[in-house]
């Protein structure tokens, strides 16, 4: 699992972001990071840290969310067959990305949700019609049960060949 020094380093990071010094982070604390503020999906990513209805996250919650991005190789060392699926499994990494699209958390990406996320990613540079047709095409390609929305299973199928392990993992330098 995560090494002692990695936890110390992340705790040091957590406290440096915690400007209010009350042991929790608010959305403003995240938005103060310039490189995150300019990320088109910055707000969606920040949202992933907060549970339903909560607007503060403690260190445990912080680590829990970051744990999704541990490299999968780390699991080889601690093979726990009977335990719950680790947070950084391929499936859970995909689920994390799925939840970025699924705005209302109903386990489906509707046309409307896809449009909203696309709009965040492209800003004012693409017209509504074009964006609409992009969304339609994407749903058409992924949708298998004909409900004009993308379920998690359909999402996984579309991305089955993508190297999720590498693209959704962050390595510590030490």
């Amino acid at each position: 699992s995560v090494s002692h020094s990695q936890i110390t380093r992340l705790y040091s990071r957590f406290t440096s972001l915690d400007k209010g010094e009350n042991g929790t982070l608010s959305r403003e604390d995240f938005q103060r990071i310039p490189e995150l503020a300019i990320n088109p999906l910055g707000d969606r990513i920040i949202n992933a840290f907060f549970s339903e209805g909560e607007d503060q996250v403690n260190f445990r919650g912080f680590m829990r969310t970051l744990a999704h991005f541990r490299p999968i190789e780390d699991n080889e060392k601690s093979k726990d067959q009977n335990g719950p699926e680790p947070l950084n499994s391929r499936s859970n990494k995909l689920h994390f990305a799925f939840r970025l699209y699924d705005l209302d958390k109903d386990d489906k990406i509707s046309r409307d949700e896809l449009l909203q996320v696309l709009r965040m990613m492209v800003g004012v540079n693409i017209s509504d019609e074009q964006l609409g047709s992009i969304a339609d095409r994407t749903i058409q390609e992924a949708d298998q049960d004909g409900d004009c929305a993308i379920s998690f299973a359909e999402f996984v199928k579309v991305l089955e060949k993508v190297d999720v392990e590498q693209k959704m993992s962050i390595r510590f330098l030490h």
């Binding site: 380093r9 490189e35 693409i126 017209s127 590498q166």
Partner: protein, 455 residues
């Protein structure tokens, strides 16, 4: 009570004698050499001794940690996670390539594109390039100050004694000495410049003004036990030029002005600072702005240009970052000083944080707390490099010129060259940067030729 009386007068006598002795020593060993610009080399010996003690302390801590089998917390300046320096385009193409075998020259949208933004976002949450520049740099080995101690649990008895001795020396000997020196330096500056101000304008006044300033800055340098190494002094700024340097603390001014003659630029303050500013400007022209005038960029540019065009006036000293950064990087230079057309003399200042961290974290400490922290550190050790003068080339604009100067300073000082604005310490980042990202990404999904207007 009667028995105490003879002892009382004895104590008072002893106190009086020791204060007199202290001040005589002060005068002979510190103030007089400062006035004439000579040095006994006491500070260099002090620095060498401290280094040896720090090395011993580090070995002790490492040995102690090994014995108890605890991992030692070592701060890493180069970041804690592996980041690839690839562009948005390259990354997204790579993600798409791994997802499907088909050729990907045609722009289109893929569900997997989100991985790029997601990972980049989480990377910046774990470790970003900007926010860490606004807090003091972490040290690799302990320097016997409790303020920089991250491995508190692994101290041995000998180390604690050494630390206690350090506290005694720093607070009971060095601090009063430094405060006395600072007091002397500042009062000499105020009285000296006021007196010189009464003289008629001319060569005599200029000469005296320069030397009064220099002398007082030299005393202030000793008040901080600043050990400065100047490099390439032949490139020192000349009249009619603008000297730009990276900004770490208000002490930068003292460090540069104790080795050359400058005209200062700044905002008018109240209190003690205001008194000093008003006195200084009597002796020679400095450029002080009222708070309201600072916002007016044209007025600022006009006054700066007027000053540099008068060759009889001293070179201006200015810090284009506009705020104090923690001396691990150089942030965006504001283009105002680079528009005047004058020769720019870049200077790089690099502090060695092991003896005392000079970074002025204005959001955490006030000026007085900051000065006290400076005066209770071991010393302020820094290197100053005078870089060869630069002028704006015809094909570059002020911003490009500013970036060129910034890169030269960063390279010389061994600092990271960042494009981010130091103002991000307090303000939010501008939306234009997010819009740039969105524009880049839009090109990837619809290409360049499509209609981009919003209906």
């Amino acid at each position: 009570m009667f028995l105490l009386l003879p002892f009382d007068s004895l104590i008072v006598n002893l106190l009086g004698i020791s204060i007199t002795v202290l001040f005589t020593l002060l005068l002979v060993f510190i103030i007089v050499p400062a006035i004439f610009g000579v040095s006994f080399g006491i500070r260099k010996v002090y620095m060498k001794t401290l280094l040896k003690i720090f090395q011993w302390a580090t070995l002790r801590i490492e040995r102690g940690a090994k014995e108890k089998n605890h991992p030692l917390y070592k701060p890493y300046v180069n970041g804690i996670i592996a980041k690839e320096p690839t562009s948005l385009e390259e990354e997204i193409k790579e993600i798409r390539r791994s997802g499907s075998g088909k050729a990907l020259d045609a722009p289109e949208f893929e569900l997997s594109d989100i991985f790029y933004f997601c990972r980049k976002g989480i990377e910046t949450i774990m470790d970003d390039e900007v926010t860490k520049r606004f807090s003091a740099e972490e040290l690799e080995s302990w320097n016997l100050l409790s303020r920089t101690n991250y491995n508190f649990h692994y101290i041995s008895l000998r180390l604690t004694v050494l630390w206690g001795l350090g506290v005694l020396i720093r607070y009971c000997f060095l601090l009063p000495l430094r405060i006395a020196l600072a007091f002397t330096g500042i009062s000499l500056l105020v009285t000296g410049t006021t007196v010189v101000g009464y003289l008629p304008n001319g060569r005599c006044k200029e000469f005296l003004s320069k030397h009064v300033h220099l002398m007082c800055y030299r005393i202030c340098v000793r008040a901080l036990t600043a050990i400065i190494t100047y490099h390439d002094r032949e490139n020192r700024p000349r009249n009619g030029g603008i000297c730009v340097a990276n900004h770490t603390s208000p002490i930068d001014v003292i460090i540069l002005a104790s080795d050359g003659y400058y005209a200062m630029v700044g905002q008018v303050h109240g209190g003690l600072m205001g008194v000093i500013q008003r006195a200084m400007v009597k002796a020679c022209p400095h450029v002080w702005f009222e708070r309201s005038e600072v916002k007016d960029r044209h007025l600022v540019a006009k006054r700066l240009t007027e000053h540099v065009q008068d060759k009889s006036k001293l070179p201006i000293l200015i810090f284009p970052e506009g705020t104090c950064i923690n001396n691990t990087s150089v942030m965006m230079f504001k283009k105002g000083s680079f528009e005047t057309g004058a020769t720019v003399y870049p200077v790089a200042i690099k502090y060695d944080p092991q003896f005392g961290d000079a970074f002025f974290n204005s959001s955490k400490y006030g000026m007085v707390t900051y000065l006290l922290r400076m005066m209770t550190s071991w010393a302020i050790v820094c290197s100053v490099w005078y870089l060869p003068p630069m002028t704006r080339q015809p094909e570059e604009d002020a911003v490009q010129f500013a970036n060129r100067v910034k890169s030269a300073i960063a390279r010389q000082g061994g600092l990271v060259d960042l494009l981010w604005d130091g103002g991000l310490k307090r303000e939010k980042v501008k939306d234009t940067f997010k819009e740039e990202q969105q524009k880049l990404y839009s090109k990837m999904i619809v290409g360049n030729h499509e209609d981009r207007s919003r209906s």
